[in-house]
């Protein structure tokens, strides 16, 4: 039984010039303890998808179709007050910007105590305080520092605190949205190591959202490649690295520099991501694709199974792959 199951999820942002379809027909599932990477460029819909899992799609976005099941419960059908208890306890979110996500006039400890006592009203102050100390210690921060204010912490430490707040209630699923984008490489590696070790200790599943394919490949078990709201490819990271199928994935892999290779030749993907108000008809990637055929411009390619746990949305694989239903189960 999967922990998280997302089926045919479609999310729109209505604007005065028409609706922007930020996420279209996305299905995947995640088991306990697994790590899933959502990779894509800006505007690909990866953050919207992540936020929808805790039902926090920013205004005016609406989920127009699909279901999101956490532990068999479809959270899209829950009333708001029940949803509040899913957030934090079942699924928690780590936001991109640690500088603005903490309250500047509250001590670090107060953030934790408020969180714990809101979700578990029976917890006494003393107990909440003790739990805070343990969590902060697990983050590699001295427990005395819970009396400090956010501005007394560096960017990396604030991001640790954000991670701590996400795991404080021991959720089954943590969604980390570009958790290290604002940080330097050394701090980035430390934060990702911390997430990985906490994930093992607490047995959580992790969804890591990043534009940096290197991080995703290095840290995740499974990967979804997003482009203009569509899932173009879905595979285990080893499979994605050895055997990328979609021309977009292949292009991305050829455009990222690797410090372990010498005399690498980078190849850019021509063109730029589409205007989401007027996305191209058919496959969203065809204007930039060097393999584009006539059919790509008219018809949307279905998700095709090309291997064990490997799916691709591309007409190139029509004959080799076996056609599968879109709301498949993994």
């Amino acid at each position: 039984m999967p922990l998280l199951e997302v089926g045919s999820l479609t999310i729109d942002y209505p604007t005065s010039r028409g609706a922007i379809r930020a996420v279209e027909d996305i299905s995947f599932s995640l088991k306990k303890g697994e790590t899933l990477g959502l990779a894509g460029e800006s505007g690909s819909g990866k953050s919207t998808l992540g936020l929808s899992i805790i039902r926090l799609v920013p205004y005016p976005g609406v989920i127009v179709k699909g279901h999101i099941k956490i532990d068999e419960t479809d959270i899209l059908k829950l009333p708001e007050d029940e949803m509040r208890f899913i957030r934090g306890r079942k699924a928690a979110y780590i936001f991109q910007d640690p500088m603005t996500s903490l309250n500047p006039v509250k001590r670090i400890g107060a953030h934790f105590i408020e969180l714990i006592r809101t979700h578990e009203p029976n917890t006494g102050k003393e107990e909440a305080f003790e739990r805070t100390k343990t969590v902060v210690k697990n983050l590699g921060i001295l427990s005395e520092r819970i009396n400090d204010y956010p501005h007394q912490f560096s960017g990396g430490m604030r991001q640790r605190i954000m991670i701590g707040l996400a795991i404080a209630l021991n959720p089954d699923l943590v969604i980390a949205d570009e958790p290290t984008t604002a940080l330097d490489v050394i701090v980035q590696a430390k934060i990702l190591d911390l997430l990985e070790s906490l994930r093992k200790v607490y047995g959580m599943a992790l969804i890591l959202i990043s534009h940096d394919l290197s991080i995703i490949l290095e840290r995740c078990d499974k990967i979804i490649i997003m482009y203009a709201g569509h899932m173009l490819e879905y595979a285990t990271s080893i499979e994605m690295h050895r055997n990328p199928k979609h021309p977009y994935t292949q292009g991305l892999l050829q455009s990222i520099p690797n410090i372990e290779l010498s005399d690498q030749k980078l190849v850019a993907i021509p063109g730029s991501p589409p205007d989401m108000l007027n996305p191209p008809k058919g496959c969203r990637f065809w204007p930039r694709c060097s393999y584009a055929k006539k059919i790509c411009r008219v018809k949307e390619p279905p998700l095709i199974k090309v291997g064990r746990n490997h799916f691709v949305r591309c007409f190139l694989y029509g004959k080799k792959g076996v056609h599968v239903e879109r709301n498949r189960k993994s």
């Binding site: 290095e218 994605m240 455009s255 410090i259």
Partner: protein, 340 residues
């Protein structure tokens, strides 16, 4: 020099185009009125603290390091956007440290800079033709039709084709990658000899980054441009550079040609930095070198070697004596007491 054909074409290639010696840039720390009453001493952020290097014509020299290491300040001091606190800057052999007024304006034709954020570096109320042609007008080189001709030419060069479609657009009508191309066009229209590129690709979508990098590499060949490239991304640095200098807290800790520097990093900081870079390969087991703590403030710089509080190999000497940048192998410089 990685490109032999490039070397054959240009004989002057081996001459030093830019050289800095003992370059320092300190920024005074703002104090409140009360603090000013009680203390006489001013404290400084030592953004760049005694840096020396030289860039040869046709080379791509990269300053790399984490945020706050002084790489951007160094770049800005070199193009004279900031006054150095002390030290000397030479351009084509001439001392430009104290250059002002008309002479500085003439120098700017030869030295350009492009910035990280193409959303901030272009005036939103200027059409592309005016933004790109502006340098020509400032330097009195071309006006009207002639300006238009030159702008079209240079837009074509940066890959904005057909250029006629772009000249009457405003920056908000362009994507991030296109804006950075416009910024590049503006900086090469005066045919400079030297360009500082401050994180030119870090705000660009991944799939477009390598096209901007390749464009910059092509200018080196076509226009004989020399670059000072500034980046925090060592994977990009490795791809583009001939030589790399790693900075930490205002100082260069290691400098050399990129191959030896990446294959055999000698400074413990460089080793840790390289081991932290993600590698796009899930099957690769990597050893990470852990560093204690975080980068200290540039106001209270540690005594001796400024890296010693975080260094796994520190000795007593490290906290007392500042190591000099010494040539350990040919062309490979390291500032570390372990090297002797």
């Amino acid at each position: 020099m990685s490109d032999a054909s490039c070397m054959a074409k240009k004989v002057f290639m081996l001459s030093e185009i830019v050289k800095v010696e003992h370059l320092k840039k300190y920024f005074p720390v703002q104090k409140s009125f009360l603090e000013q009453l009680f203390t006489r001493e001013l404290s400084y952020v030592k953004a760049v603290d005694d840096v020396a290097f030289s860039i040869r014509s046709g080379e791509i020299f990269t300053l790399a390091g984490e945020s706050g290491c002084g790489k951007t300040t160094t770049g800005r001091v070199i193009v004279k956007l900031l006054e150095p606190t002390s030290g000397k800057i030479y351009f084509n052999g001439a001392d430009i440290t104290k250059l002002k007024g008309e002479k500085l304006r003439l120098l700017r034709r030869k030295m350009q800079i492009i910035f990280q954020d193409p959303y901030a570096s272009l005036n939103p109320r200027m059409k592309i033709i005016d933004a790109v042609g502006h340098p020509l007008e400032i330097h009195g080189l071309a006006k009207g039709e002639e300006k238009k001709k030159k702008v079209l030419e240079v837009l074509e060069k940066v890959g904005l084709t057909p250029p006629e479609q772009f000249i009457n657009l405003y920056p908000h009508q362009l994507s991030g990658g296109q804006r950075q191309r416009v910024a590049l066009a503006r900086s090469i229209i005066l045919k400079p000899e030297f360009m500082v590129a401050d994180e030119p690709v870090s705000m660009i979508d991944v799939s477009l980054r390598s096209s901007i990098i390749d464009l910059m590499l092509s200018f080196r060949k076509e226009l004989g441009l020399t670059y000072l490239f500034i980046t925090h991304d060592l994977a990009v640095a490795k791809y583009i550079s001939d030589k790399i200098a790693i900075m930490y807290l205002g100082k260069i800790v290691e400098m050399g040609h990129k191959e030896p520097l990446f294959w055999n990093p000698m400074h413990p900081y460089t080793q840790a930095l390289l081991s932290a870079i993600p590698v796009p390969n899930p099957e690769r087991e990597r050893k990470r070198i852990e560093l204690a703590g975080e980068v200290p403030s540039a106001i209270d710089i540690p005594t001796g070697c400024r890296f010693h509080p975080r260094c796994p190999y520190r000795t007593d000497k490290c906290s007392k004596e500042e190591p000099q940048l010494i040539e350990v192998e040919k062309g490979h410089f390291v500032a570390c007491h372990l090297m002797k």
